[in-house]
């Protein structure tokens, strides 16, 4: 049998008891004959506690020092899990991100993995050892400790699975799989047996929160078989694979949503060919993730651009734009917070042009105003007032009959 990569998130390793429980899960796979690589996050609330310490010292700590601080969290978990495995009679070796060869861009707080040097991991596996790797962290070419951003442990796991040509990558989490939408908000939400990479990618990007989008991207690019499953209950989860044949004729597969969305409008920009690229290159190189983008040309000379960002990125966004005002030459910036994004996802949508219209119709019937729209071949996203978010999700879940085992088209 081949290599299996298991990833356990913060809740799954949130206490000594849970770490011992995770050790048991790891040992199950080892006993089944696999070479096992385990990727873990920081214990439960420990990241929040570290952030709190930093905030007591500085309202805006440097990203480099935040990476230095936060990466200690996973380092604690890898050592404790290795000890737990040893205590149960299984040899284990822990590796930090840099020891596991996780090479990233030279940027802090949200670096991308560039490459994984697998020598150290392979050497330990060849000795019959279980390898425990700190998720979420890596090292840049010049030896700086970096982090992959929130949810980065998923990416570490999938990237390792790809680099090691693992048989599969199991993402253990506190939910039992991928649902048609968040069961905490919609009672009739249903667990999916399988879902395609593309659908999962849209759901992940749209804030479904089960899997980090970069992880899904990696999995798709390297064709890593993924399963999202519960660390507490011993049941099958949701398979993420190239083509989910069983339910492929469904138009809408899931509904994703996220709050804390802010719309930023940059007004009175010069209407030139390079305006769009200049503004979004400036934001990207300064680490601001922009989501939906809308351009309104108001005259031949002037144009306006609206885009959405996470609300916590608003301050950065405005300060970066103001710093570059002399280059960007805009008149003013406006913003609206307290917004949410609600999206429907499904690979069948590509051949069903009426789906977006149906979505707008459902929302209009609920009296919910749509403030921004963005579409791809397999999803339609709308931005609405945050107060209407849960109502919108429930109405759409009913309208597209997602609670039915096999929905009719």
């Amino acid at each position: 049998m081949g290599i299996i990569v298991q990833k356990f998130g913060g809740t799954s390793v949130g206490s000594v008891e849970r770490i011992l429980h995770v050790a048991q899960r790891v040992i199950q796979e080892k006993n089944a004959g696999h070479d096992v690589v385990v990727v873990v996050s920081a214990m439960g609330k420990s990241t929040d506690q570290l952030v709190d310490l930093a905030n007591q010292i500085s309202s805006k700590p440097s990203k480099r020092e935040m990476d230095m601080l936060l990466t200690t969290g996973e380092q604690v978990t890898i050592s404790l899990l290795s000890m737990a495995l040893a205590e149960k009679g299984y040899e284990a070796t822990s590796f930090t991100g840099w020891q596991a060869g996780v090479e990233t861009e030279a940027s802090h707080g949200n670096a991308r993995i560039l490459n994984i040097q697998t020598e150290n991991v392979k050497t330990e596996l060849s000795k019959g050892k279980i390898v425990v790797v700190a998720g979420f962290q890596g090292v840049s070419e010049d030896g700086q400790i970096t982090t992959l951003g929130r949810g980065g442990s998923d990416t570490t796991a999938v990237a390792l699975a790809a680099a090691l040509k693992a048989e599969k990558c199991d993402i253990y989490t506190d939910v039992t799989g991928v649902y048609t939408t968040d069961p905490r908000c919609v009672k009739s939400a249903r667990k999916l047996e399988s879902i395609s990479y593309d659908e999962m990618l849209e759901l992940a990007n749209l804030g479904a929160g089960v899997l980090h989008p970069r992880a899904v991207e990696f999995a798709k690019n390297y064709q890593v078989a993924l399963e999202v499953r519960s660390s507490m209950e011993n049941e099958r989860g949701t398979l993420i694979e190239e083509e989910s044949s069983m339910e492929q004729n469904l138009v809408v597969r899931g509904i994703a949503f996220e709050d804390q969305v802010t719309r930023v409008s940059v007004l009175g920009l010069p209407n030139e060919l390079t305006t769009l690229s200049t503004i979004f290159t400036t934001l990207a190189t300064n680490g601001v993730n922009v989501d939906i983008i809308i351009q309104n040309t108001t005259s031949d000379l002037k144009t306006s651009i609206s885009f959405s960002v996470k609300t916590n990125a608003l301050e950065d966004t405005i300060s970066i734009l103001e710093q570059h005002k002399s280059i960007l030459q805009f008149d003013k910036i406006e913003s609206e917070s307290q917004l949410a994004k609600v999206s429907i996802v499904g690979s069948g949508m590509v051949s069903n042009p009426g789906v977006a219209a149906e979505m707008f119709d459902v929302l209009a019937n609920e009296g919910i105003q749509v403030k921004m729209v963005s579409t791809s071949e397999i999803k339609v996203s709308t931005v609405v007032d945050q107060v209407h978010m849960v109502d919108a999700v429930n109405a759409l879940h009913d309208a597209f009959e997602l609670s039915k085992e096999v929905a009719s088209v």
Copy 2:
């Protein structure tokens, strides 16, 4: 002006408030025109908390994984101190042990520093930055995270000072300097203005606890000017230098003591030329630090060896000896715990042969039995029952008149 290295121990960085206070101390030296390198330990009780976590999982965690776990402690401190400096307007860069180029032996829990690659530190200093280095930790040639053992942050500081050819190395601690003995046990204990490396080395080795002996050894070998001083009070501490001229004619300069001493006796060893070297090489290569050694030859064929170890090393010691029983060929092992070591130190002793006799006399008058003796040119150590330790120290402090400003010979 040149480079100054400052070291702050766990108590000095035990809270956010104290870290902010330390930042102020660092800034004082920076403002005075120095290039400043700061070495810090883990915050207050955080090492103990990590040890406690490990002990909840395993009664005997692997040393490699303990190093992995414990080194997170200093990593937290370096990031927080760098943030505190930035918040006060001073640019700072933090480095873990491996980033600071602290190369050690490939052993865990108690590794020695082999070399320091100073490029990273020098580059940051040349940019005008304050460099904050994690003490106590390093990296082996094969990329393992190692620790230097308890008190290792002192060693990191002195080794960095030596490698950087620093002007001086200030060891900030929770006491105001080096005392004739521990003021918590002897009321009349007096702070020394200066002390020689050799005397400090004996005191440090003998458990005075102010400075790690390896740190003093490094300082002596590389002639690093050291000062032990208080992180809380702004007064001069004790200078440690080659020759302490002011008080050089004192016979006894200080009294050191430590509890948790155990005597181990290996009985019925073959009386061969290689016996001593075999037994202590075996212990040393397995990481057991042996202190006093006494050999009793009982017959032409058989010999017995007694030695003292820290009580917490007893279990390891016995299991290592038992593992090598077929090579060592002893009859049995005996041990006695609940012992303490009490030592007098002074460079004047070399020309005063009666000092040891006077020490035994003082102890005999107190009714304290001496169980082991060890002498060097500048110290006499005795092992006594732990219950008599404080009485012995007080009696010796009085007898050698250490509370007097300038003692007569």
